[in-house]
């Protein structure tokens, strides 16, 4: 790596101030699993690297009145091991466990994965299925927005150059909501998603019907997307294998995948249908287990 100036922040306020002080050329370092790879390949070093990995208020997982608050610096490894996550939103632990390998999961952070804006990220679908919100801090104060609105394009987010992602909140209403996550890659270990799907739903115990189903698709559009037509089809409908299969077929028509050297667009659409059906079934299994 070429030489750069390194500055370090011990909390988010200091990080925002340093970001403003050093301007748009500053690169933010958290877990380093993306940034250091990029810097090693870059022909020129950035003027300044801002290390936020010691920002204490951006760490930790806590149950609050608003919901489950996950600091942006929480690593994928911490998500997989957290008793709170396993109890209140186990699908997040399942999704985190499919990212990279043990070593990269111990370094890479949830916030880093989200701000990458990469359409195939594994953190996005499960959080969007649980209708998570993110907190962003900048020189004009903090704001919150839905994670689905945070993603605006491939490798592009709603984050302004002088803003930082501080935390992710899974709203209280989604905690304990039965959910499933499925991912298909070219191999079992260290694979990028060809397609990943998360589904979350309630089952109305009196009618045996889907309530508030949420389906999120990854790697098949410029951003992680919801599948609103498949969700609308399931709402209020009796829980059957046929309904889940049909929702999968509908979701496949909502996907807008590209074809590349990993898989053709048609194959990805097929995967959406199958993985959506299986994610719904996994969520239903979890719902039945909870009863």
């Amino acid at each position: 790596m070429r030489a750069f100036k390194l500055v370090s922040a011990t909390d988010s306020a200091q990080a925002v101030a340093l970001l403003a002080e050093h301007g748009p050329g500053v690169k933010v370092l958290a877990g380093g699993t993306d940034l250091l790879v990029d810097l090693k390949a870059a022909p020129e070093a950035p003027a300044v690297v801002l290390d936020i990995s010691r920002a204490a208020d951006m760490k930790g997982i806590a149950a609050t009145d608003a919901g489950l608050r996950i600091g942006a610096l929480v690593t994928h490894g911490e998500l997989t091991r957290s008793p709170l996550v396993r109890e209140l939103a186990p699908v997040l632990a399942e999704a985190a466990r499919t990212i990279g390998a043990v070593q990269t999961r111990n370094l890479g952070t949830l916030g880093g994965n989200l701000v990458s804006g990469v359409p195939s990220m594994d953190s996005g679908p499960a959080l969007i299925a649980l209708e998570a919100r993110v907190t962003v801090a900048g020189p004009r104060g903090t704001r919150t927005l839905g994670l689905a609105e945070f993603f605006v394009g491939p490798r592009r987010t709603a984050l302004a150059p002088d803003e930082l992602l501080v935390d992710v909140v899974v709203p209280a209403a989604s905690l304990g909501k039965p959910a499933g996550f499925l991912k298909s890659g070219l191999r079992k270990g260290q694979a990028l998603a060809l397609v990943n799907v998360a589904a979350a739903l309630w089952i109305d115990p009196d009618r045996g019907a889907f309530r508030a189903p949420r389906i999120a698709l990854g790697a098949v559009a410029p951003t992680v997307i919801r599948a609103p037509r498949a969700e609308a089809y399931l709402e209020g409908r009796a829980v059957t294998a046929e309904a889940m299969a049909e929702a999968g077929r509908i979701a496949a028509t909502e996907a807008r995948p590209i074809g590349d050297f990993r898989a053709s667009a048609d194959y990805r659409r097929e995967l959406v249908a199958v993985l959506t059906r299986r994610a719904l079934a996994a969520a239903c299994d979890r719902a039945e287990g909870a009863q």
Partner: protein, 181 residues
């Protein structure tokens, strides 16, 4: 340049390093600990795996400054003057290393696993080693060796400070040749 204060294999080092120094470069080039290997240098191969505060990480993807104030364990910190660590013994006995380039990383990944999970399943061992690529020995013998190490360590006291507690050499199974079972 503010000096870094890093504990490596139980010994504290205070040393300056330029900001762009990775933890791997610090270990290999500043401290002369060349057990952790420079392989892909982008976090795919796991040859640079070390434990930082007990967790396996790619030393190539961490700045040395990010390890300031923390405790690092490398392969050099496992054996005692008297004996190899039980994981190393198991790898030797089961011929789980051929060229050995991936070995330090594989063994440290196995150590992190066994510290957290003393009796892992084969699936858990595979998951723990998924970030360590081997191009010659193959993985089957490594998985056998990690199983054997788990058994050797089972019921043993905490192995986090191997230098403080020399581990005796274990007898070979059935007085055998040291080859795989």
């Amino acid at each position: 340049m503010t000096p870094l204060r890093i504990t490596v294999n139980g010994r504290e080092h205070v040393l300056p390093a330029p900001p762009e120094t990775t933890l791997l470069a610090l270990l290999r080039e500043h401290l002369g600990l060349t057990g952790a290997k420079l392989g892909c240098d982008v976090g795919d191969c796991g040859a640079c795996t070390v434990l930082v505060d007990g967790l396996a990480v790619n030393a190539c993807l961490m700045l040395a400054a990010q390890a300031d104030g923390r405790s690092v364990l490398t392969i050099e910190g496992l054996a005692t003057p008297d004996a190899l660590h039980p994981i190393q013994q198991a790898f030797e006995r089961h011929a789980a290393l051929q060229c050995g380039f991936c070995g330090p990383g594989v063994i440290l990944s196995a150590k992190a696993l066994l510290d957290a999970n003393p009796a892992p399943t084969a699936a858990e061992i595979r998951e723990a080693l998924a970030g360590n690529l081997c191009r010659c020995t193959g993985y089957a013998k490594m998985i056998t060796a990690v199983h054997a190490a788990a058994q050797a360590l089972h019921g043993a006291t905490d192995e986090r400070s191997p230098r403080a507690t020399p581990v005796p050499r274990l007898p070979l199974p059935g007085g055998g040749t040291g080859g795989p079972r």
